[in-house]
């Protein structure tokens, strides 16, 4: 079964802006799905329609087979959402916020308190349960929004940039938590600006640009579509210019740094052999950019949109 089925979804705002221009999208049950796109591409509009916070203009949308037009309540019951913008009642305590959220989904109060302890503990917020939301740090507020979204144990969790502004340590612990959640059977749709995050976590991906799906594929297949990769090499002795490496394009960046572009038919061994023969020692090497970032930039550049 599909967790999410979107057919020919169109959204035109009153000011005439067409945010979605006939989107088709499938997210399979149990998937960890990345929805990427530049700012203003239509990601948040799509999520807004999924969660009934934005009215669609036309098209259809089903959540676990429940059509939003005919079975709205059943569809909503399947979804948990962590929005991009903070939307907490700043004057309520963490525990009250999550327990109330469970109540809106019809979870009895006793069970809601049990789940509050479970999810606030899992997100390292249990000791803050009596603190008002406004007293929490940015990262804690984000985690509180995740705990809140999980209180009714949704089958589909939609996370709109959940790690924005969160430090690297907390981000990594959130990744572990989301991975466990997905392994437990929860379908997850993630939008993020950290492409490393999408590449690390997600199995499938759609790139949305200017209201259209520019690419939708398995993550590994999409990454294979990258025909060339650029590597940055640090060399021990200073160089005045880029050395000649037959068959490869080598650029001189500074006396100790070179950049080399490798296609899928070429090997790094050959580059190193030629550099060694020229007496150049390479002390370290790194990818110039994240692979997904490279694809993302190319897809978005192709359609002429700013990244």
């Amino acid at each position: 079964m599909q967790a999410l089925e979107v057919r020919n979804l169109v959204k035109q705002y009153r000011n005439g802006v067409q945010a979605l221009k006939g989107i088709d999208l499938n997210v399979a049950q149990g998937d960890f799905f990345a929805l990427l796109g530049p700012n203003g591409a239509g990601k948040s509009t799509l999520i807004g329609i999924c969660t009934s916070l934005v009215n669609k203009t036309s098209g259809s949308l089903k959540v676990f087979g429940h059509d939003l037009d005919t079975e709205l309540e059943a569809a909503k019951a399947c979804i948990g959402v962590v929005p991009q913008e903070l939307n907490l009642n700043q004057f309520e305590t963490c525990e009250t916020i999550v327990v109330n959220q469970a109540g809106f989904y019809g979870i009895p109060r006793r069970l809601a308190h049990e789940r509050a302890e479970k999810y606030l503990s899992q997100l390292s917020l249990w000791d803050k349960r009596h603190k008002m939301a406004r007293t929490l740090s940015g990262g804690m507020k984000r985690r509180l929004m995740i705990a809140r979204a999980l209180m009714h144990e949704p089958r589909l969790l939609i996370l709109d940039e959940p790690t924005a502004g969160v430090d690297i340590e907390i981000r990594r612990s959130m990744w572990d938590f989301l991975r466990e959640l997905n392994q437990g059977g929860t379908t997850i749709i993630l939008t993020t600006h950290y492409l490393e995050e999408a590449e690390t976590l997600c199995r499938n991906i759609a790139i949305i640009d200017r209201g259209r799906i520019a690419e939708a594929d398995r993550m590994d297949r999409l990454l294979l579509k990258l025909h060339t990769e650029s590597f940055v090499l640090s060399v021990r002795a200073p160089l005045a210019a880029a050395p000649t490496v037959a068959g490869y394009e080598v650029r001189w960046l500074d006396p100790h740094t070179l950049e080399v572009e490798i296609s899928k038919t070429q090997t790094l061994n050959e580059v190193f052999s030629q550099l060694t023969a020229s007496g150049i020692e390479v002390v370290s090497m790194r990818n110039k950019v994240n692979r997904l970032e490279e694809i993302f930039m190319r897809l978005v550049d192709k359609s002429g949109s700013p990244a």
Binding site: Y13, R14, T51, S52, L53, V54, N55, L72, E73, A74, K76, A77, I79, V81, P83, E85, L86, N87, L88, N89, Q90, F91, E92, T96, I97, N100, Q101, G103, F104, Y105, G106, I107, P108, R109, R148
Partner: protein, 260 residues
Amino acid sequence: MSTSVARARWIGFQTIILREFGRILRIWGQTIVPSAVTAALYFVIFGTLIGRRIGQMDGVDYMQYIAPGLIMMAVITNAYANVSSSFFGAKFQRFLEEISVSPMPDWLVVLGYVAGGVLRGLLVGLAVTIISLVFTHLPVHHVLVILAAVLLTAVVFSLAGFINGVFAKNFDQVNWIPTFILTPLTYFGGVFYSINLLPPWAQSLSHANPVLHMVNAFRYGFLGRSDVDVLLAFAIMLGAAVILFGVALTLMRRGTGLRD
């Protein structure tokens, strides 16, 4: 509708009321105390100082005459203010989305907020009633009329507050209606005087004021006296409640002021 759906909805409804009750208690200095203080001042100034010179109004002691009106005034302003400010606040801080994304149907959300408004209206009404008993004796002519009038009035103004909250784009717009419409309607709604004191044209005009009917129906419940037909007053209250509920529900379904 299955039992589990009905139970889930009941829990959702309770949750909105509990949240509203928590809010009323959390900011009691803004929600309960001001109306009680204002009512006490009215009793001291209009009742004790000026009222002594007025003597009787419509055949009863003036203090006794204004007590039901002052209680009703507190109920009206608090029921309205609770829903308009709470709903707008939730919209403004965006935590209304907690409810919007949930499976709670629109009508239940409206009822939940209205119940919160009614709760505050009744709590403050009770506080003002207790204060009024310090200053005067309040007989009970017809307890059901008292309860029905106060409940219906609280519902009507909670619904009106809800609609205000839906349309409001800033906090100024939450205050406009109470300042420029609600307060004049209440002051000209027979709280402090019988409309029999007014010239005929002003009496006719006063009958167009729904607050006059609410205050008088409530007063009838205590004192057995009214400037208006009590049955007509109840018809107006019921009619207003039904119409305002329809408007509130339509706005929610369209997503007016909430969804683009």
